[in-house]
């Protein structure tokens, strides 16, 4: 058996300490040890993007990143970013456009989209398509996801928020 290593990091605002095997991937640590099931495992080889999480402000593949590498870092997942409201506009826009079907890619897709909005606020439709090309979606055909992200970019450019989607009573 490998010697376990002590690590600590801030996950969604909470300080977390644990003793883990060095081979444990960050996404497994988040999912299995911290029970944060938002990041998903689609390929375990860095291709699909379903395991995307944020480490020190940058999105990474949770399946290619060892938990020990995140020692001392700030880690954010879809759960934390939902609670903080950081994804609210994108989530409303995804709802409005039905930009998710099975939802398995959604947490990764939202985190990728959020980084695009932060880094390229003037991105064109083509640039949106290119940016999210690191994230597989097998259900939507991408059109609605692109629509949803473009709407948020447009709203931000005008200084507006995306209106919450409410059930029509």
């Amino acid at each position: 058996m490998t010697v376990k290593k002590k690590i600590s990091m801030t996950v969604n605002g909470q300080l977390v300490s644990a003793e883990i095997e060095p081979r444990r991937h960050l996404v497994d640590f988040l999912r299995e040890d911290l029970h944060l099931k938002g990041p998903h495992l689609g390929c375990e080889q860095g291709a699909c993007g379903a395991c995307t999480v944020k480490v020190d402000g940058q999105i990474i593949r949770g399946c290619l990143f060892l938990a020990v590498q995140a020692d001392g870092s700030v880690v954010e997942t879809v759960e934390g970013l939902t609670k903080s409201g950081a994804l609210a506009d994108l989530q409303e826009s995804f709802m409005r456009h039905n930009a998710m079907q099975c939802g398995f890619c959604s947490s990764g897709m939202l985190l990728a989209a959020a980084e695009l909005i932060e880094k390229q606020p003037k991105a064109s439709r083509e640039q949106v398509r290119e940016w999210i090309s690191g994230n597989y979606c097998r259900c939507t055909g991408y059109h609605s996801i692109v629509d949803a992200i473009v709407d948020v970019l447009d709203a931000r450019a005008k200084g507006q928020k995306i209106k919450p989607v409410l059930a029509n009573a």
């Binding site: 058996m1 095997e21 081979r23 999912r31 299995e32 029970h35 944060l36 099931k37 938002g38 990041p39 998903h40 495992l41 689609g42 390929c43 375990e44 080889q45 291709a47 699909c48 379903a50 997942t77 879809v78 759960e79 939902t82 994804l87 989530q91 995804f94 709802m95 409005r96 456009h97 039905n98 998710m100 079907q101 099975c102 939802g103 398995f104 890619c105 959604s106 947490s107 083509e126 949106v128 398509r129 290119e130 999210i132 090309s133 994230n135 597989y136 979606c137 097998r138 259900c139 939507t140 055909g141 991408y142 059109h143 609605s144 996801i145 692109v146 989607v165 059930a167 029509n168 009573a169």
Partner: protein, 798 residues
């Protein structure tokens, strides 16, 4: 929000008495949690004492299994059991997947874990169970199987040759199923036709690549001898039945639960050997066992589909009338027909569907379905339709080209006219009502066809090669028992819905058809809200639980809206009647004087609010003593629906693709895609659009990128997401969708299926667009996926 009336097509009469949601692009409120990381997929579930199974799978295409050494692995940390095929066969019976109505079909007995021989690379042979997944994988490295490689049947072209080894000697040959059809005077028509065009079409093997891999947790409770299986699956009742039969249990002993399913597309509607093995292990160990396929296992053990080679020809006269089609289809399905739906259905569908949109009267088809040592194939989104459509539409374009007719005009001339229904297609399929002519007119306008042609010809002068391709299609949906039931498969074509009003006036709907992302639960919410008469946020949907929902078939053959939706409508309307009866008893007024609207009972004449549903519920559940003697307040109603008027309810549509081909690199750029879809009543335009778009992109994957590549010894060469290409966002075009609504008369709702037509039409449309772009070079490519290399070969550049 869109209403169908805002979209192209006719405005349908409402189906409920206060219709507010059906026909509108209502968002899927229930799906919000998926955007917040709060879904419950199988791998998210952790049960107490849960163990993990991994499989030692055949490393080669065909092998004799010798001694299995498990001693070392068994002693590894955390290992709970190492089980081989002989041990597993003591509790799990083998199966043979054939259907009675596919005459002459044969297959061999298949086991949960292979015994004596493994017949494809990836077939599970030994199961290793441990406390953690990592421990199981560590131990897997120490399983030592003595094996001897056997000759593999790889190419389908030689599978039936006398010198090719027979995979299952007891079957006598490698032929699973064969079918011939000959209608009219095919030979005479081809001999005398003004124009005959022919081509050979190839379709690469591809697979579904659900983003969530196949997975399940089986839990056996020795106390009550009851099996619970959490499964990422499309047909929970079907799996319940299969576990009963293979393990000698009864339905009351088996509980199948499907929570969130991370993509299915037909991949998750089959019963896999490792499904049964996982259940068997849970029964042996009397504790929960989780199986989650890794991506390599997905590529080698999820069903594949579509490996076909079709020689086709078409005959037409000078006037531009299609006279005949003829096809010869060869397809290979792996070493076993897949359980329980069988692997002959896809080829059978091709025979049924080729030429389907057109009014020609002569058709001959021959089909051979052969065994080979590759991963088994079975039903994947579209099932035969993408193949039949690409062959038909490819031949139609060839004929139009020879006749020097515009391909759209040629189609308009030859489709079965909109006023000809009901009628039979030439293969014998029964067509209730289709709208080819209207769809063709709609797409012509949508894409502004004349100016697109003008742009194309102007760009050609500048050395830019663009192409426009069409694909007219039919799709079978809303299946009757003719699909599986009559063939002896215990797969329900009926579905049931239970609709219940709870004391506070909110509504729960329990239904056998589940959600895999299509928005099924969303449309059931819309239907139930309208039919019971409550706001949509007061409806909750429960699916995917055999202990709870009425017995039903689940998700397949585009039946969720047409069959499941009808069951919800019937049950919800019956519940509203019961609510009114109860209100009448409470108010002491004749039911005829009352109506239900938006959670209230109103006076029909004055519109005055008399009672809220919450009051009806309070009395109906807690003060039944105040009701007249003998009155039963039945606030829970179940209705079942089977579509029995036709074997299937066919839908139709047309797609168009606009592409640019670079003749120097063979690179294809998708510029735009259009689809006109007639799925009868559109319950939610946004969700239908998204089904169409997603399905089109899967079809584009098939025509341009996706192929399970094998080497000469039958080994998969591209079993990873990095090597097996699926469409990504930057390669895909924007897709414009319009609707024509021709409701089926076989139900009150009038809805037909919409989930697969996109996949059916896209390969044909893109193939034709590429060939249109290549027309100046006088060449064609009909071998899918149409890669840069194939285009450059066609151009004789390499």
């Amino acid at each position: 929000m869109n209403k169908p009336s805002d979209l192209k097509g006719m405005v349908l009469d409402p189906v409920t008495n206060d219709q507010r949601y059906i026909g509108h692009s209502e968002p899927r409120h229930g799906a919000r949690r998926l955007l917040e990381g709060q879904g419950t997929y199988i791998d998210d579930i952790q049960l107490p004492r849960m163990a993990h199974v991994v499989f030692w799978r055949s490393p080669v295409a065909h092998m004799k299994i010798g001694k299995i050494h498990t001693e070392h692995a068994s002693k590894m940390p955390g290992v709970l059991a190492v089980v081989d095929g002989v041990q597993m066969a003591k509790i799990c019976k083998p199966w043979v997947a054939t259907l009675g109505h596919l005459a002459g079909m044969k297959s061999a007995p298949q086991h949960a874990l292979a015994i004596d021989r493994a017949c494809w690379q990836g077939e599970p042979v030994v199961a290793v169970v441990a406390e953690t997944r990592a421990q199981a994988e560590d131990a897997l490295q120490h399983i030592d199987v003595e094996w001897e490689e056997l000759p593999a049947v790889v190419s389908m072209e030689t599978a039936l040759d006398a010198q090719t080894p027979v995979i299952h000697p007891d079957l006598g040959d490698n032929l699973c199923f064969t079918r011939s059809l000959d209608v009219g005077n095919v030979d005479e028509v081809f001999a005398t036709a003004d124009v005959v065009a022919e081509a050979t079409f190839g379709f690469g093997r591809h697979t579904g690549v659900t983003l969530e891999p196949r997975c399940q947790i089986a839990d056996y409770n020795p106390g009550d001898r009851r099996l619970t299986v959490y499964h990422s699956q499309q047909a929970p009742h079907m799996m319940q039945d299969l576990y009963c039969r293979q393990f000698g249990l009864s339905e009351s002993d088996v509980h199948v639960i499907c929570k969130d399913v991370g993509g299915s597309f037909g991949i998750k509607v089959h019963a896999y050997p490792d499904d049964f093995a996982t259940v068997g292990l849970a029964m042996m160990l009397e504790r929960p066992v989780k199986f989650v396929a890794d991506r390599l296992e997905s590529f080698t053990s999820d069903i594949h589909a579509r490996e076909h080679r079709i020689k086709g020809r078409i005959a037409a006269n000078k006037a531009g009338d299609i006279l005949a089609f003829e096809i010869d289809d060869l397809t290979a399905i792996g070493p076993y027909s897949m359980f329980p739906r069988t692997s002959a259905i896809e080829g059978n569908q091709v025979v049924n569907l080729v030429g389907g949109p057109y009014k020609h009267q002569n058709y001959r088809a021959h089909l051979n379905v052969v065994f080979q040592n590759k991963t088994p194939t079975c039903q994947y989104r579209g099932v035969g339709h993408p193949i039949a459509c690409a062959v038909t539409e490819g031949l139609v374009d060839l004929a139009a080209q020879k006749l020097q007719m515009d391909p759209l005009e040629f189609r308009k001339r030859n489709v079965i006219p909109d006023d000809a229904y009901p009628c039979s297609g030439i293969s014998g399929i029964k067509l209730e009502v289709l709208s080819h002519e209207q769809c063709l007119r709609t797409i012509e306008k949508m894409m502004d066809y004349p100016s697109l042609r003008k742009e194309q010809s102007e760009l050609r002068k500048k050395g830019i090669y663009r192409g426009i391709g069409f694909a007219t299609l039919i799709e079978l949906t809303n299946p009757s028992p003719a699909f599986y039931g009559v063939g002896g498969a215990r797969i329900a074509s009926q579905d049931g819905a239970t609709v219940r009003m709870d004391p506070s006036g909110v509504v729960s709907v329990l239904i056998g058809v589940g959600e895999q992302g299509q928005g099924t639960e969303g449309i059931y919410t819309q239907i139930a809200a309208d039919a019971v008469g409550v706001p949509i946020d007061q409806v909750r949907i429960v699916t995917g639980d055999t202990d709870v929902t009425p017995y039903g078939g689940g998700t397949w053959a585009s039946r969720g809206a047409g069959v499941g939706g009808e069951a919800v409508l019937l049950a919800a309307q019956a519940l509203q009647e019961n609510i009114l009866k109860l209100a009448g008893a409470i108010l002491n007024r004749p039911v005829e004087e009352l109506i239900a609207r938006r959670g209230h009972i109103l006076d029909k004449a004055t519109g005055e609010q008399l009672l809220p549903f919450s009051e009806v519920g309070r009395v109906g559940y807690f003060r039944t003593d105040t009701l007249p003697p003998g009155f039963s307040a039945d606030l829970m109603v179940t209705r079942h629906y089977t579509q029995k008027d036709y074997p299937f309810i066919f839908t139709n549509g047309v797609q168009a693709s606009y592409v640019e081909v670079d003749p120097d690199t063979g690179f294809v750029k998708l510029l735009k895609h259009w689809a006109v879809e007639d799925c009868g009543r559109v319950i939610n335009p946004m969700l239908v659009n998204e089904q169409v778009r997603g399905a089109i992109v899967q079809g584009i994957g098939g025509v341009l990128f996706e192929e399970c590549l094998y080497d000469e010894s039958g080994l998969l060469r591209n079993g990873s997401m990095a090597d097996y290409l699926v469409p990504m966002a930057n390669e895909m075009p924007d897709i414009e969708v319009a609707h024509v609504e021709t409701p089926t008369q076989s139900s009150k709702l009038g809805a037909k299926g919409a989930g697969e037509a996109g996949t059916a039409g896209a390969p044909g449309a893109v193939q034709n667009a590429i060939n249109d772009a290549l027309a100046p070079f006088n060449t064609h490519v009909f071998d899918q996926p149409i890669t840069c290399e194939k285009i450059l070969r066609a151009l004789k550049k390499i």
